[in-house]
Symmetry: C2
Subunit: 148 residues, 2 copies
Amino acid sequence: MENRIQRIKEALQEAQYKLTPQREVTVKVLLENERDHLSAEDVFLKVKDKYPEIGLATVYRTLELLSELKILDKINFGDGVSRYDLRKEGAKHFHHHLVCMECGAVEEIEEDLLEDVEKIVEKEYNFKVMDHRLTFHGICGNCQSKKD
Amino acid sequence: MENRIQRIKEALQEAQYKLTPQREVTVKVLLENERDHLSAEDVFLKVKDKYPEIGLATVYRTLELLSELKILDKINFGDGVSRYDLRKEGAKHFHHHLVCMECGAVEEIEEDLLEDVEKIVEKEYNFKVMDHRLTFHGICGNCQSKKD
DNA sequence: AGTTATAATGTTTGTGATTATCAAACAAAG
DNA sequence: CTTTGTTTGATAATCACAAACATTATAACT
């Protein structure tokens, strides 16, 4: 964990930004909740526990900054809130999501799965793919068994 | 075009809704701008040209209704606005998009391309896929050639 | 046609997430 | 220490969208 903070610090500095205490706390919260897709509000509340003086705007600014630096991915599952997801270290691509239409649970898929599709897109549509977002909507295993 | 309006009318009636003049104008605007990923505001302005008395809320309601009936797909490219996209007739799935990071152009892909991926997801993750959203971010052909 | 029930509309007001503003705190450099 | 630029926190503003509600249209009866 310390390593990852260190790495993020370096990324910030490379882009002429500092890892201020506020930013560090925010990053820590993101690391500690890596699998939850937190909204800005969620992050704000969790950060506030550790650093009560922080302002909402600072959290928004930090999330925006980390997104620009591709440390975070800003996602939108269609419920009027942006959610933030740490990009895996070294991951070229955004990972995929399975959103359950019943219970709202969000599962992540680390596998790429899209290599072939991207090749087709590059060739047939002459489009240079830099990143992708793939979300499946459906019914998760849990909710499927409940229905029986 | 008249056919498609007729088909949409039937879909509405099947769900106990009427094709009111306001709804018809809204549908026409959507058909006339089928390739354009309009926001609710965009639709409202275009509808207003043809039917100045219409209220914003009616347009929102109509877009919502058509989305529920799967005539429209509501999409989100990450700029804080929802955009609306007519579903091709008979299409089970949402079509994909190529968003150019340079010029912002949005191209559509009709091909499914995800059949294999969905099979993997259903098997390995025990997730029943109902729909999907896939967007590629990258550089379109136009912008690629400009760079040379 | 007249009456009533229901659906749909338009105006206006609310709401909730995000952004902008701006003065104050802080940090770095001379 | 002084100056300059960065970052912060409080607050107000914005913006997309939803809710409320009175009004109007439509359909189904009589």
